[in-house]
Amino acid sequence: MPILDWAVNATFVILSLALVIIFIRLLKGPSLPDRVVALELIASLTVGFIATHAVATGAANFLDVAVVLALTAFLAAVGFARYLEKGGYRSDE
């Protein structure tokens, strides 16, 4: 199935690119919320990677990881938000 192989590889490349880009945002910040937003997106990207990998390898079980990932990413966001509400530093440069 050449088309699928091609698509999968292309997807991997695009996702990798996206990952690099958002990683830059994570490094740049400047504020914690900006970094959390980046982290959130990275979680989604990871979901994407997993889905693609599942297709690439034909092993569906990997999707379970994606399920959990979606959940935990959300919780992390809530945690960070709470941290900010609790009067943590909005920017700790």
């Binding site: 698509a7 999968v8 695009i14 880009i21 919320p33 989604s44 399920v67 966001a77």
Partner: protein, 136 residues
Amino acid sequence: MMSEWITAFLLLLGSLLMLLAALGALRMPDLLTRMHATTKAGALGGGTMVVAAAVFFDDGAVTARALAIVVFIILTAPVAAHLIGRAGYFVGIPLWEGTLKDELKDRYDPETHTLASEDKPEDRKSSAPAEDRDRD
């Protein structure tokens, strides 16, 4: 054969949406505008790619899992966006200078964590500037 084409399409679409979100997060001027990008594109992209997997495997269990993921993303993405957005706003992360208006300004009382529905005249004077808002 057909399903492969669909899978391929969805995968590429999803990943492009992700890329879009990433670019948005990188290029947008302030927190809230960045979140516009990530919340929407990120959620849809992730969902799309999971659906792609579901189509590819065409198996009940996988479909169930894919569905679970999509539902979960749709349920949580906006909530998370709301939490981070308001938190960021309330700790005084500056808005882009291009911002036209801010009707929420000075209606939040960090001491009591209450948010008023309209301006009370004395709020103007009493409320502290953003810098002093966050303690320790």
